[in-house]
Symmetry: C2
């Protein structure tokens, strides 16, 4: 566990799944740290940012699919953010079973601050990546994250 091997973990360092997992662990730590002052974490931030950026407003089912959460998990996240007046549930005019989720003005404001904080945390995560390298990474990663 020293020299080149230490930095890459033998064969494991060539394993895309492992690299994604390790990058994610670092990313969650960094993001949660900067989001904490805003009373958000990576999950509530993702939901808030999603509904703040979507038009038309997504249903809870669509939110669950996009964030890779079970619909039952979305309930609690929406409850918490709605209780803080950041988002609200509205009836879906096209399906009385469904509820769409929209950001309030306060929610959109906080989403903006949170996004800035998250981007700042992201930068500390890869201090040596050039803007062009970052764009390449995002483009490739998007094809993995949205392969289905």
């Amino acid at each position: 566990m020293e020299g080149t091997s230490a930095a890459e973990g033998g064969r494991l360092g060539d394993d895309l799944s492992f690299l994604i997992a390790r990058a994610n662990a670092l990313s969650i730590s960094a993001a949660n740290a900067v989001l904490k002052p805003l009373d958000l974490n990576v999950r509530s931030y993702a939901l808030l940012a999603l509904v703040a950026g979507e038009d038309p407003a997504p249903t809870q089912r669509e939110i669950a699919a996009f964030l890779r959460l079970d619909p039952s998990q979305v309930v609690g996240l929406v409850d918490a953010l709605e209780g803080r007046g950041l988002i609200e549930r509205l009836p879906d005019p096209r399906d009385r079973r469904a509820r769409t989720v929209t950001a309030t003005a306060a929610g959109r404001t906080l989403a903006g601050e949170a996004r800035a904080a998250a981007l700042e945390a992201e930068r500390t995560l890869h201090p040596t990546l050039t803007p062009s390298e970052r764009e390449t990474l995002i483009a490739l990663l998007r094809r993995v994250a949205f392969a289905d």
Copy 2:
């Protein structure tokens, strides 16, 4: 939540942290599915693959740092794999507090099978990535995963 927006989730689709998180969720699902027949999951596989590929054998503390786990979590993982005869704890000749972890012959065999299964699962994760794109992604992601 339709058209281009549906595929990228508005601004969230440009968020590297979010893309990493979503790719990781997909990756864990795919990997756990193929590892299940081998009685492994992503965490036990990562530990087994790490100790099978490392020489000299890492201590539990080094394993924890590399896999981004708390040292107390490593205890249970090592217990389980050691109970199956796949790895073993050996006293560290240089520090009587520490224990190094080594793969047994059976462990190295299983690590090889698991690695093949994990790579196969990885391919289903990004069916359209060319080998060269995959290499680029791995190289960039490694700089994020090992920035510290």
